[in-house]
């Protein structure tokens, strides 16, 4: 009977045809997406504090057609800047983390509850009646207190 005496596998990294299967690339993809979505939530709340901050965030999105304009056809306004910043965070972090973790193995069983809770947190972070008091409380530390 064949015995495996050199079992140095971390977590449950398995091999097929001699190629180990690392979970690093999945973790890199998931983390970059979560941070991109967090950027979306944070920039949204920042843009609501003052007109100046809204214009600053809007300026990142000028490259998107329809980001500026008035009249009946309208425009997407600072939503374009929030999307751009979120895409930027996602787009920069994903290849970087992928490169760093492509041969690393992480426990996905530990990551699953973290991702679920992060998504719930992000979702609730978009529900104004719940999050607005928290945002205003934090903004108060930076001198953006609204009466």
């Amino acid at each position: 009977m064949k015995t495996n005496t050199s079992n140095t596998k971390k977590w449950d990294t398995l091999e097929q045809d001699g190629i180990p299967i690392y979970s690093g690339p999945i973790v890199a993809a998931a983390l970059s997406v979560l941070l991109g979505l967090l950027t979306l939530v944070v920039t949204h709340h920042i843009s609501r504090l003052t007109k100046g901050l809204d214009q600053m965030i809007h300026s990142y999105g000028y490259w998107i057609p329809g980001s500026t304009g008035t009249g009946p056809d309208g425009s997407i306004g600072s939503y374009s800047g929030k999307e751009t910043l979120a895409l930027l965070v996602w787009g920069v972090l994903w290849p970087l983390l992928h490169y760093l973790w492509r041969k690393q193995d992480f426990s996905l069983s530990a990551l699953i509850p973290l991702v679920i809770w992060a998504l719930i947190f992000l979702m609730l972070g978009l529900f104004h009646p719940l999050i607005d008091p928290v945002v205003l409380f934090i903004a108060g530390f930076f001198g953006y207190a609204v009466p």
Binding site: D12, L14, Q16, I19, I21, S23, P25, I26, A29, A30, V33, G36, L37, L40, V41, H44, I64, G66, G69, T70, G71, P72, D73, G74, S75, I76, G77, Y79, S80, K82, E83, A86, W90, S107, L108, S109, L111, I112, V115, I116, L119, L122, M123, L126, F127, H128, P129
Partner: protein, 192 residues
């Protein structure tokens, strides 16, 4: 008593496909008929509605495949790869067309102005929630699609990876459903 003239296997297959096609056509008509609405933004509305409904239908189908992945079962990965890619493309179309129709929503005398004047919370709470939550499914589907293409059939060896992917698909469906439902309510409240 069975009728030897009827192949029950073929009949079942036909009826399943017939039911699915009927449901899809009728669902798409909810937004497809926007094209004939008396507004100059009919095309934008129809494109967004049709892509959103299609994305939801494909994502719903995929959650049924996800149950097998959750249990660690082996499925036809090549087919799942194609479905995941299709769902990602449809989610992308939904997001892009959403941006397109959102312009008119915010336009002069558009739905936003009307809602803010009459029922402000539908904009301040529901729309502000919807416009961001609708962006969640696309990147989640991108991760699932990337995983399927990156690991190919070897993913079958890792139960935790299959489970993680299934949860991503379920989460994408959940956010898609939230965005779809909010969009439908807002469109019913004040059409573009």
């Amino acid at each position: 008593m069975t009728n030897p003239m009827i192949d029950s296997h073929q009949l079942t297959k036909f009826l399943i496909r017939f039911q699915a096609i009927c449901a899809l056509v009728l669902l798409i008509m909810i937004s497809g008929l926007d094209l004939f609405f008396p507004t100059q933004y009919a095309l934008k509305a129809a494109v967004h509605g049709i892509s959103a409904i299609s994305a939801l239908v494909v994502a719903t189908y995929m959650t049924h495949r996800a149950y097998f992945l959750l249990r660690g079962g082996r499925i036809h990965y090549e087919s799942l790869r194609n479905w995941a890619l299709g769902a990602t493309v449809l989610n992308f179309l939904g997001a892009v067309s959403g941006n397109w129709i959102y312009m008119r929503y915010r336009g002069q005398d558009g739905p936003r102005d009307w809602i803010l004047q009459n029922v402000p919370n539908f904009h301040n709470v529901l729309m502000e929630f919807k416009e961001f939550i609708s962006l969640f499914p696309f990147p989640l589907m991108v991760i699932a699609t990337f995983t399927l293409f990156y690991y190919k059939d070897r993913i079958n060896l890792r139960h935790d990876m299959k489970q993680f992917m299934a949860i991503l698909m379920m989460a994408a469906w959940f956010f898609l459903m939230l965005g779809f439902m909010s969009g439908l309510i807002l469109a019913k409240l004040r059409f573009v």
